[in-house]
Amino acid sequence: MEIGLFIPCYINQFYPEVAKATLKLLQKYGNVTYPLSQTCCGQPMANSGCEKDGVDALKVFYDNFKDFDYVVGPSASCVLHVREHGAHLYPTMAPMIDKVFDLTEFIYDVIKEKELQAEFPHKVAIHKSCHGLRGMRLGQCSERVTCDVSKQDVLVEQVTGVTLIQPKRADECCGFGGTFSVSEPDISVRMGTDRLKDYIESGAEYITSGDMSCLMHLDGIIQREKLPIKVIHLAEILASEINSTTTDKEKAYVNAV
């Protein structure tokens, strides 16, 4: 299986540990290639109302990834953008849309992983990113009367030592929202602060998510306010080594940011 590794631009720049963990995880399942000339999915333009300005980014995406069996990235948000808007913004890429996957979705739906070999002995709360939850239906959202499987929960539960923590509000948005975070800074920060309070009060040591952008926003507040909680991408938990010491993982996390 030929897998193209799609690393969102800000993860490449700021969170290389997330990309490394994703690579490591995917290498268990196939031959992984990281095309070095990839840039971005174009979502920032699209959500800002300038979707046409993002077409060139989609062209680059297509050129880099069109020949793989699967294209996998550690971001539901970026993947959702490609899926929802790729075909109408750049019709040439329509045939490849179904091959583009978010990492956790790929492991759950395509690989159907049942026994992840990983260990992370911590109390963890999963921040259900909106694009993963409501956009890709990765889990049961609190608004709907459905019985959707929460795929990320199922995967994290396979990790040895993890205690899953449920916050009071199961799936409220963190307030990042791309350019929303800078065009509506008051609300954005307030939303993030409220989410963090909920996660801290619920007793979680770590907030994890399939979307590093939510975590970047939350971590921005954590670092500024020196709050007693840490963020870590789901890929890092799912790829965490059995028997590696906690300090190693914390060191890896520190290196990442």
Binding site: I11, P16, T39, S48, E143, V145, G175, R190, G220
Partner: protein, 456 residues
């Protein structure tokens, strides 16, 4: 009157100057959202019900002319006077002329966001007609000379202490009294007088039924019934999208409406009106005011499914933290943000951006309006057709170009990366909106560089 903010960020900033109020407002509305969750989870077929409702609406909207004419015919046969208004001005003129014909001086009005949309009250006041809003929340905002901040809970932004003060000033309640039961009783007594004095009652309409020519108004306070049954003239004002084909369809919508709005199984009063009582008059005004234009827009037609339950407001994390008055339109929150650009694209251009596109509004909506998708689509139109946020427009154009050119993109990224490693005082400058209350990530070795070193 309530302050009119120039855009949503300005209103949100003002509301957030009082963090305790934000907490309280958020919690009050989240409580309603949770009540709604409980009520909907008691209906195993909830999603099916939403789907049926959406289909009835889709069908009705594609045969709107037919059903409106059928309604007119049936209503007239029942003895109701039917009027057609193409816009707010015509609506106000029609209502005024009916009232003047009957020499009306005192009007009681209940729950009608449409008359807010049309600014009916000031129009009638100019012609020496006194209008009293009889819904408790609406009466509170009326006394405070404000507008409703929520379509179901008009005074949700007011604390009981503020209501106490307002009632002390206007209704002679004891100074400092904040007990909700006491205050409500005082309001009830005050409103009883108004009901008894009224020469006419104006009400909204939740559903008008084409096959019967009747209509249904839902309240929890019974004020519609009190007004309409006491006064000699009843004028019901409705947007033309409120029509449903059959009586049996009420069984779908009434189940959805109250559960979505407040978490009740059904509103306390779901009053059916079919014909005037002997010696009385009943009028209905069918108002377009931009609705047929919205109907003509393929991407936004579905917004006319709205049954005004307010669930999208209660669920919206931005609405809960910015308050209804931060929106530049009569109907605030997510639904208002997709209805308003069609009315005045420039004036309401900030509203579709007052969202993280989290999608909660679309999932909570009982009639399955794809609200967040429509927000996305309005954003595209706003950036294309208006001069909204020219700096963003330019930066997106430049970023888009760079992202189409891998070499250029990597070079710019490197420059940015180096800048972020620079002195803090340069990075956290006043232009850095992110950094006012948040740290930026600290760049280390990029994955590109690591991969080149380790995998090629």
């Amino acid at each position: 009157m309530s302050t009119q903010y120039k855009n949503h960020p300005a209103g949100a900033k003002a509301f957030n100057k009082n963090p305790e109020r934000v907490s309280w407002h958020d919690k009050a509305l989240w409580f309603v959202r949770e009540k709604r969750d409980k009520a909907t989870h008691g209906i195993p077929e909830w999603e099916e019900l939403r789907e049926i409702a959406a289909q009835i609406k889709a069908h009705t909207l594609s045969h709107l002319d037919k059903y409106l004419l059928q309604f007119e015919e049936q209503a007239q046969a029942n003895g109701i006077h039917v009027h057609w208004a193409k816009d707010a001005q015509e609506h106000n003129d029609i209502v005024l002329s009916i009232l003047q014909k009957h020499n009306v001086k005192n009007v009681v009005k209940s729950k009608s966001m449409l008359t807010e949309e049309c600014s009916l009250n000031p129009h009638l006041n100019q012609h020496d007609i006194d209008v009293v809003d009889t819904d408790l929340g609406e009466r509170i905002v009326q006394l405070a000379k404000e507008h409703p901040s929520h379509i179901v809970l008009p005074a949700i932004h007011k604390k009981k202490e503020e209501v106490g003060e307002l009632f002390h000033e206007h209704l002679n309640t004891e100074k400092g009294a904040t007990d909700p039961t006491y205050l409500t009783r005082a309001a009830r007594e005050h409103l009883r007088d108004k009901f008894l004095q009224a020469d006419a009652a104006i009400t909204g309409v939740n559903f008008a039924v084409a096959e019967s020519g009747g209509f249904v108004v839902c309240t929890n306070e019974g004020n519609v019934d009190m007004g309409a049954n006491l006064a000699p003239v009843h004028i019901a004002c409705m947007g033309i999208e409120k029509i449903i084909p059959k009586v049996e369809h009420l069984g779908v919508f009434l189940r959805l409406l109250a559960r979505s709005a407040t978490g009740q199984a059904i509103t306390t009063y779901s009053s059916h009106f079919h014909k005037p009582k002997g010696g009385k008059e009943m009028h209905i005004v069918l108002v377009d005011n931009g609705r047929t234009e919205q109907l003509s827009r393929d991407d936004f037609r579905k917004s006319l499914n709205c049954i005004r339950c307010g669930a999208c407001m209660n669920t919206c994390p931005i609405y809960r933290r910015s308050g209804g008055h931060s929106y530049t339109y009569t109907i605030p929150g997510p639904i208002g943000s997709i209805l308003s650009p069609g009315k005045d694209l420039k004036k309401h251009s900030s509203l579709p951006f007052a969202s993280t596109l989290c999608g909660s509004c679309s999932d909570v909506c009982p009639v399955k309006i794809d609200i967040h998708t429509q927000l996305y689509k309005w954003r595209q139109i706003i950036m294309e057709e208006t001069n909204y946020d020219p700096a963003k427009k330019l930066s997106m154009k430049m970023a888009g170009k760079a992202m189409g050119n891998p070499k250029l993109f990597k070079m710019i990224s490197k420059v940015g990366n180096t800048f972020l490693k620079g002195p803090r005082v340069l990075i956290y400058n006043p232009l850095n909106t992110w950094g006012i209350k948040r740290e930026l990530p600290v760049p280390t070795q990029t994955f590109d560089d690591w991969y080149k070193k380790n995998n090629s």
